[in-house]
Every structure is written in structure tokens, then in C-alpha cells.
Symmetry: C2
Subunit: 85 residues, 2 copies
């Protein structure tokens, strides 16, 4: 973006080993629709955050990490990752 | 991955201009928790597809595009993009 606005993209996925019924439902539905060769499906969330201008990138990374731990992910069963886009 | 297995990551977001109550709820909750400086939040879905080995990359791209149009996204209100990871 033109100014110093930052957009963080947080991806939240279930941890390996946690049952993912939504993903399994999608896999099944794809098979019903005739799509072969899909071996596994996992569904997660993506959350795009537009941050106010004036944040240093390092500060923003730390702040978004705190948001993930506090609200955006359930860290018992989910893992999260952040990228700036 | 070691073999020729492909993993497609589909990201589905609401189109610009479509009301996103989930994103708005997250923005509000972040404010309540004391996180300032989040101007806008959009929530979407991410769907990871593990494709059977033996697919050519170009074929897989076309196949996943068909899956998006047929099932994974509601193209009236959502846009999708695919990356291979």
C-alpha cells in the first residue's frame, strides 16, 4: 500500500492429529461431485487485519502474535501463523 | 514433499463490499481486549487439499479451480485464490 499501513494475514489451522470434521465433509462432498484424487482436506480460518499506520513492523508482529494467543486462535487445538501482505 | 504429491491451499474471502459480520465481531472483541489500532478485519476460510500423486501441476490447477467454482466458494459473494505449497 502507498502509505505505511500494514495488513497482517493470520492463518489458523487445527493442529495435526486434531479431528477436522469440516475438512472431512468437504473431502466427501468433492468425491460425490466426481472429483477424484483428493486424499485429505483440512479447513481453517484466515483473518486479515488492517493495522493503523504508524506501527513499526516489529511492534506490529508482536502485537498480532498477542492477538492470536488471546483471541484469534484456540492454542490448545489450533496453530497460527502470521504473514504481512 | 519428497514425492510428487501436491498440496493446494485455497483461500476464500468475501468480496469487497460484502458485509462481514464475523470480521466486525473480531474487530470489536480486539478493542474490548485492549488492542488498539486495528482498523478493519475480514475473516475468510482456508482449505488445504492434499492431491494424489501423479497429477501434473497444470492439471491440478485446473481441477482445483473447478472445485472452487463448484463447491469451495460461493462465487456470488466470495472470491478465491489457490496457491500450491
Amino acid at each position: 500500500m502507498a502509505d505505511d499501513r500494514l495488513r497482517a494475514r493470520v492463518t489458523v489451522m487445527l493442529k495435526e492429529g486434531v479431528l477436522d470434521p469440516q475438512g472431512e465433509a468437504i473431502r466427501h462432498a468433492l468425491g460425490v461431485l466426481g472429483f477424484r484424487g483428493v486424499e485429505a482436506v483440512r479447513q481453517g480460518k484466515v483473518i486479515e487485519l488492517d493495522l493503523a499506520p504508524g506501527n513499526a513492523r516489529a511492534d506490529a508482529e508482536a502485537e498480532v502474535a498477542r492477538m492470536c494467543e488471546a483471541l484469534l486462535a484456540n492454542t490448545v487445538i489450533e496453530r497460527w501463523q502470521v504473514e504481512f501482505v
